[in-house]
Amino acid sequence: MGTTTPIATTRSVTGMPTGRLAVWWVIGSEIVIFGGLLMCYLMLRLKFPHWALNSSHTNTFAGGVNTFVLLTSSLSIVLAHYYAERKEELKAFGLIWATIFGGLCFLVIKGIEWTTEIQNGFTITSSLFWSFYYTAAGLHALHVIAGMCLMGWISIDVLQKKNMHRVELIGIYWHFVDLVWIFLFPLLYIAK
Amino acid sequence: MIELLRQSGSSFAGDINNLILLVTVLAGFWLIVAEVVLFWLVWKFRKKPGVKAQYVTGERKEEMKWIHWPHNIILVCDVFIIFFAIKVWHHVKQELPPAQSTIRIIGQQWAWRFIMPGADNVLGTKDDIETVDELHVKVDTTYHYKLESVDVLHDFSVPQFRLKQDAIPGRIMTGWFKPTKVGHFDIQCAEICGIGHGIMMGKLFVDSAEEYDKWIASHTPAEATSH
């Protein structure tokens, strides 16, 4: 069929657009992936009270700034969706790139944070706490990177007023990434 | 029934045999019923010229009862099996009878190490006897074992005793057995533990009281007897 869209894609028996339905299923499967990892962490964290000592070495300030950055980028992507629905493609485009910039800030801060920690001798193999710290935050960062790439790709379509509904889809995904961080932050940084 | 294939040699082996028999009878009954009905239906309702199939939705009450009654009876069978399974499990794995002697079993790639308390029947003293791949126990004595592993997972298994327990590095698993038959049996490792898994074999000697004492006397370390 080459580039033509199948009829199947245009149907909507549930009354929900297929894309949105799929994004929710993606999020469902992500919940169990992150949930599984965090539950493993939680069990061992509660088993070993001395992990509080490790988590006191995390940079709460950097983590806090990152929470702020992600919350703000959530705002910009929800506004992008708002303007995309109103077909104001320039505003939507700008806000998508603001979100991408937010993601970039997040990664830069994360990078600085990790560099300092590694310099201070806290590497992924230092102790089990740090293994979880890098694995969970790393998995989350991968999702941030994936979201940024997708947003860049979607923004091109948005400029041409094509596939505007995808802004909402990436928005839901991005909010989920934000949500994961909302839980990662207290689990890894605050709980002492 | 299972005795025909592998003799039992411990106090709880009989309980496990009986449970297996119970499951065999109940599950076997259902297997035979289902298979007979299946083959009978295939034969009875084979395609015959001029005979049209019936239209049965299976949603009317009198049709559903053919499903619901078996379903209820299976539930009852399940309750029976659950009851006896948990009873046996509780006896074998959960509730330990008081020990008359305690041994340590250590699995490693690819051998079993046994530490027996020796003549004083206390672990951690000088007269402890350490052996490799060879365990001597006294018949009709309740033993507790402390199962450990130094590297990967192993599984201490003695089919005659109906005894099986994984050894996990970092953990100490406690269990019990009481040999009832004199003789010598294979000890297996029943959890894959690397390329030598297939040679990880031990020998279990269940000795009579006199034989056992003789063995203890001849294997007590020299420094324990020196003073």
Binding site: S12, G28, M43, L46, A52, M164, F185, I190 | -
Partner: protein
Amino acid sequence: MAEYVAHSHDEHKDADGHGPSFYIKIWAILLVLFAISVIGPEFGHRTVTLITAFGIALVKAYMVAVNFMHIKHERKYIPYIMFAMLGMVFLFYIAVSTDVQATSGTNWENAAAKAIIEENKDFEHHLEH
């Protein structure tokens, strides 16, 4: 495809009917909550930490899901599916914690874990410095 974009557009109008100012308001509330969740644990009181760090995280999650992800306006089964997935996660925790979180149980003990806890038992002393 144009058909359902227009459709979802309408849906949003009556679903929230909010303009950008609404989203900015939600964002501001989230920031306040976030500030509480950072300040609360500074007191070092266990219950306060739990409530401010994790209780507030739940509130924030709820606010994001409802106001940004519009989960309320989806078909009813979407939140149910999400809760079912969360249920899986908690089921996993409940069953597994008896083995992994505990250091001993019926007829077993995790000697290695106990040794680690013993080795680090004066960590609170270090924490104060």
